[in-house]
Symmetry: C2
Subunit: 246 residues, 2 copies
């Protein structure tokens, strides 16, 4: 049973997130069905982590054990032929049995796209968060920089986020314009708590709109007080960009 | 009853085209419902022409008679508040009763986007036609140029396209790269037959792929022989860009 690492891109618009759920269309469920259809094996596809409903991926990683050896381009083509067009296998690779998509991952990169101070575009509604007000990107970037380092992210933990330890190590956290009206928030960390990026972006939006001060970010880290946190930002602006392994 | 001209952008992905159809989600039907909901009037929204299922618009034009005078920004905001995010009213304008969105139009502009020789992107599947093979854009552009002028477009007329005269005057017809892997076919004409642009693009794709010679375009115009035409290109690459009035 060789183990394969899969690198995936998906448009999460029409999915109830990564995790298999009875009676719902999910990324994991759809991948497992494609493999069952191709090889007759009911297998479990293990992801690097879950993505929520409507969240996208440019480079999600997963592993799966298959009953036979297949050349990478052939396996990609075979899987893509059975998958809907909004999920694409970008790459497959045979990995040792010690490789685990979730536990072997050392870094995850996310980005969040915000269009500000423009009329909402009907074409970007599922791919960015569109706000009508202008944003102070300097203030947002100052607040974002506060997150770099090892911190307790309890304040950004979603309810129902499980019992994992709330400490995470953030390597990058910055806000920049990628086009005249589109801001990108880019963050990399060893791992993330559930809805952590969207909670951070919600807070950055309050700061960017002038409704909260930059200092709220330090207070959130220092107190772990969830009540200080703004509403989590909506899912459609969020992209899992890449997962790194040692 | 003042008459308003509406300028509309829409993502056609989730619609069965422009024209109202019982039990189906259409652009016209959705606009008429929004107006009924706002003003209590059951009105007819008249478009510059129909767009097919999954075809998009950046600048569709339409007219509608309303029972009261409303400032343009207020009417836009009111309509957009009742419309789903994939239909946006970009502008409204009071026009004379002699204005007719279809009969007063003197020029329509369409573009068709093709991504060639790349892995299909899950994010662009509803917004471009994605092909794996490379395209000879020079050959396509030569063939496209043949269409400029007044011609009988019978060969590009879809079955069930009605009894309108098949002569159309084409002002622009050209193929160019808008990014490294994305080609745009841009055409303007006084009016279009049903599925005419997609028929032309289907033929351009055959020429670009080297399966047909540039000369097939002249033969299509000269003979009106539909059997020479390639399969019509799929709808998701097509955008109604703008409609001009005298």
């Amino acid at each position: 049973m060789p183990r394969y690492k899969l690198t995936l891109a998906y448009d999460g618009t029409c999915y109830h997130g990564w995790q298999r759920q009875v009676g719902k269309r999910t990324i994991q469920g759809t991948l497992e069905e494609a493999i069952l259809d191709l090889f007759g094996n009911r297998v479990k596809v293990v992801g690097s982590g879950r993505t929520d409903a409507r969240v996208h991926a440019l480079g999600q990683a997963a592993h799966v054990d298959l009953s036979l050896f297949i050349h990478s381009p052939d396996l990609c083509a075979a899987l893509n032929s059975r998958l809907p067009g909004d999920i694409r296998v970008r790459e497959t690779e045979v990995v040792p049995k010690t490789f685990h998509a979730r536990y072997s991952a050392v870094k995850r990169a996310y980005c969040y796209l915000i269009r500000a101070a423009v009329e909402p575009s009907p074409f970007l509604r599922n791919y960015t968060h569109q706000v009508r007000f202008p944003l102070d990107s300097d203030a947002m970037n100052k607040a974002a920089a506060i997150l770099v380092g090892t911190h307790d992210f309890s304040a950004f933990r979603s309810t129902g986020g499980g019992n994992t330890l709330p400490t995470r190590k953030v390597f990058n956290s910055e806000v920049f314009f990628i086009s005249r009206h589109t801001l990108c928030y880019f963050i990399t960390a060893d791992a993330f708590l559930r809805k952590m990026v969207r909670g951070i972006v919600g807070t950055l939006l309050e700061i960017g709109a002038g409704k909260a001060d930059v200092s709220v970010m330090s207070r959130l880290l220092n107190t772990g007080d969830r009540t200080l946190m703004a509403t989590v930002a909506p899912p459609q602006g969020l992209y899992l960009v890449a997962v790194s392994y040692a």
